[in-house]
Amino acid sequence: MDTLFISLAVLLTGGVLPLLLHRQFKLMKAGAIFVTTVGCLIGLATLFPVLQDTGPPAFSLSWLHVLTLSCKIDSLSAFFLVPIFLICPLAALYGFHYLEKREESGRIAVNYCFFSLLLLSMVLVVCANSPITFALAWEIMSLSSFFLVVYEFQKKETRSAGYLYFVFAQAGAMCIFAAFGLIFSYTGSFSFDSIDQLPAQAKLVVFSLALIGFGSKAGIFPLHIWLPHAHPAAPSHISAIMSGVMIKMGIYGILRFYILLADTSLIFGQTILIAGMVSGILGVVYALGKHDIKRLLAYHSVENIGIILIGAGLGMIGVSTGSPVMAAFGFAGSLLHVLNHSIFKSLLFMGAGAVLQKTKTRHVDELGGLGKRMPITGKTFLIGSVSISGLPPFNGFISEFLIYFAAFHGLVSTGLTFILASLAIVSLAVIGGLAAACFTKVVGIVFLGEPRSARAARAVEVGWTMTAPMVFLAVLCLVIGVWPQPFVRLAFLGLRDIAAILPIQPGIEAELVGNLAFASRLFLALLAAITIFRKLLYIKKEVGAGPTWGCGFTQPTVRMQYTGTSYARSMVEFFQPFVKIRTVYSGIRKIFPGQTTYETRVNDIAEIGMHQYLVHPLVKILERLRWIQHGHIQLYIAYIVLTIVVLLLFI
């Protein structure tokens, strides 16, 4: 535990340092990156003893005499610390070339400071062992990430995205605090230890509140609305951290509450599983419909959170139905997907950031042919895309396979569990197919073909501090795919301290993962052999170059290429009415047609629904209370006094 605090102290120094050094632009950035990296490495080093020993290290401190701040690292916390300490230094390094406006030096220093605070608070969230500690860390996390999102606050779009995020973060936090309050009213103690004593109905309410609160952070459909707004607004390395690491804190919260409540009713698992399937499928469908590359990636986070929840839900159902294999594999797949998603999603956001920096546009239909102009970004983005589509021999497949395995083991029961397990399998298959479709779209439209605009044609490769993290993450994707054993073991170690999961027959997972590794290597070997075979076939052959076959048309232009919009159209239409497509077409009315416009956009039903049924009525009601806000300060003070007096009556 002490070493973890050393790491936290170093990280905090890394946050304060840039504020002092902001006049030396390069030194400030390099210093912040160096100190953050050192802090994260120390943090990673503390995890090894935790994962090997059995007893979790704990720490507690009395604060303001009544509130106890206490921390504990059990195996689940340790597992969630891995992506935090792994991804954050890479994102910090990426920021070196990404934030390169010298005149904004002060703002960049503040950005680094909040970055450190976010990192610090995420570590505290997963280590927190009492409601107060948790709430404190959770709020610091939400606030620091809010300030990171509004980095480009001059833009109106960014400010409104930041506001939306703020509202969601605080509304979610309110639900979580309500859950804590409910717990306190039953147990009367500020501790996590006695939560399992709650009566069954209270547990259900606490879990529902926690699900809404953490769900809005994680981005479960329909609470995901802030994600597609905040991610495009934030700087790309911040999006990488938020999407790759921070939203996983929501998942951590759900899992932690599930463990603390120690309730094995089926309803928990079923709820989580259904939420996962809905988020998974609709997330990827909306991703297909969106053509802003960062917004699209944000929707893919919703999809991947769905996959993680499918795994967790299957695990919970496994616990309830007494199937240890299903429980262990469901949770392990879910945890491994947390790690995998943090790797490939941050890789993809970094790639998107590189494209954005060089072309100044996020719209896929204005890009094209970047693979030739930005070779490293193109190749690493391709690897990230294959990984996120869950295709072997990359890492996404390993975790999805574990979840499939859990789902298939759920098929032995009958009734609702059977139906849910089947639906989980089918939705995983459909999500996989649609994700592959969506990422062939991104790779194909952005990186392949011919550039669709002059800006795309002028793009060049980004600086080394941006490519280096991408290369590292891409290699990691392949390594986990080809040598999955240590990583799967890590995921199973993460489950060690969860009492509800009964031990499975030793060796099942080792054998299975060994076979997966064999299949990955066999495929790579086959691919290598065939590549050599193809090379041999082309020895002494005439190889020419020419324009693409235009099917008889001799005057092709780059504007004729298939666009992302047309590529995804039929798939998105298929999912109506869960997706609203709005088309504005001015039409051709005259014999000699003038200028016409055609615009089509895919609207989020959650957004429409929330606006129509929640925000609108709420504003209507609150409008009547406008008279309370009159601007007379003395009356405001009177309100405060009155409130205190009324509250005193209750004591």
Binding site: G371, K372, L382, V386, S389, L391, P392, F397, F401, Y404, F405, F408, V412, G415, I419, S422, I425, V426, L428, A429, V430, G432, G433, L434, A436, A437, T440, V443, G444, G449, E450, L512, N515, F518, A519, L522, F523, L526, L527, I530, T531, R534, Y538, K541, V543, G544, A545, G546, P547, T548, W549, G550, M560, Q561, Y562, S566, Y567, S570, M571, F574
Partner: protein
């Protein structure tokens, strides 16, 4: 050893069977048709040629054929054929293999988009969409198979005493599975009524339009990969039709290839008697197959306790 020989035979004879389809189609149309070995002649011709690459394309364009070819060979390594076991097999390999086919498709689509041709993009979009829907059917079939014999590998499905077949327990359900898998076969291998391999209009194609720009040995690899994929799907259904416990050895192998030929003839007859669907009817067609197997999956709750 036997299984490796069987695998090698399959690799060699797979291009023969599309010739059978063409013969059947020619017969129904009252024509003589191309010789049975036509596909071999084409392959030899393509392997001897050079290639022309589009100036728009990059390394992805050259990876497309290799990855899809590797994927189709990988799948054949794991499925038992002609009364012999699979070359490799492990618990859970079916999931891996359907995903391996997925990566083959990913690179075929990416290669198509790499040419910057609007037609190829159109084909790519259709391929991505239809195969996603077909995936739902395939995984539901796996659910049924898991309920029937509790395994997750092709070797356990189709080889040995526990093999799944029409004659075994739960055979009635397999009728639905066979029909649905035949529909998926036609979809995944770009046959009529989903796609027409013989069409001449690029706008209406799916698979053929995606490979318009490939030439020479690259095209040969793609063609071979397509033959192997079709062979895999036909083998899949053939195993369901074959009774599992028969005299071993050569008879089994011969019987397997006879039934397999019948499968290809069935594809040929379907192609001769049906017109292709309008593009917007294809999703409905694929979902019909999904409905069939999902119904069968629910029935397993009653059939298999």
């Amino acid at each position: 050893m036997e299984s490796i020989v069987s695998f090698a035979i399959a690799l060699l004879v797979a291009p023969l069977f599309p010739g059978v389809i063409n013969k059947v189609k020619a017969f129904v149309a009252g024509k003589q048709g191309p010789p049975l070995l036509m596909k071999y002649y084409t392959l030899v011709k393509l392997f001897r040629k050079g290639s022309v690459y589009s100036t728009s394309s990059s390394y992805i364009f050259k990876m497309g054929p290799t990855v899809s070819f590797a994927a189709s060979i990988m799948v054949l390594l794991f499925i038992p054929m002609a009364g012999t076991g699979a070359v490799f097999s492990f618990y859970g390999d079916v999931i891996v293999l359907f995903y391996i086919m997925g990566i083959g498709r990913f690179f075929t689509i990416a290669a198509a988009l790499d040419t910057a041709s609007p037609f190829e993009g159109m084909g790519a979009a259709r391929e991505a969409f239809f195969s996603t829907l077909a995936e739902a059917t395939i995984f539901t079939v796996l659910i049924i198979f898991f309920r029937l014999n509790g395994s997750l590998s092709f070797a356990d499905y189709f080889y040995g005493a526990q093999a799944i077949s029409l004659a075994g327990p739960g055979g009635a359900l397999l009728i639905l599975v066979i029909v649905a898998m035949f529909m998926v076969l036609l979809t995944e291998n770009s046959r009529v009524p989903v796609d027409d391999p013989q069409t001449h209009l690029e706008l209406t194609m799916i698979h053929e339009v995606m490979i318009l720009d490939h030439s020479g040995p690259d095209l040969a690899l793609i063609e071979l990969a397509a033959f192997y994929k079709l062979f895999f799907y036909c083998t899949f259904i053939t195993h369901l039709l074959l009774p599992s416990s028969l005299a071993g050895g050569l008879e089994n192998g011969l019987l397997f290839y006879c039934v397999l030929t019948v499968m290809y003839i069935a594809v040929g007859i379907t192609e001769s008697t049906m017109a292709r669907f309008k593009m917007n009817l294809v999703p409905k067609y694929i979902l019909t197959s999904f409905t069939l197997v999902f119904f069968a999956a629910i029935l397993t709750m009653g059939f298999v306790q």
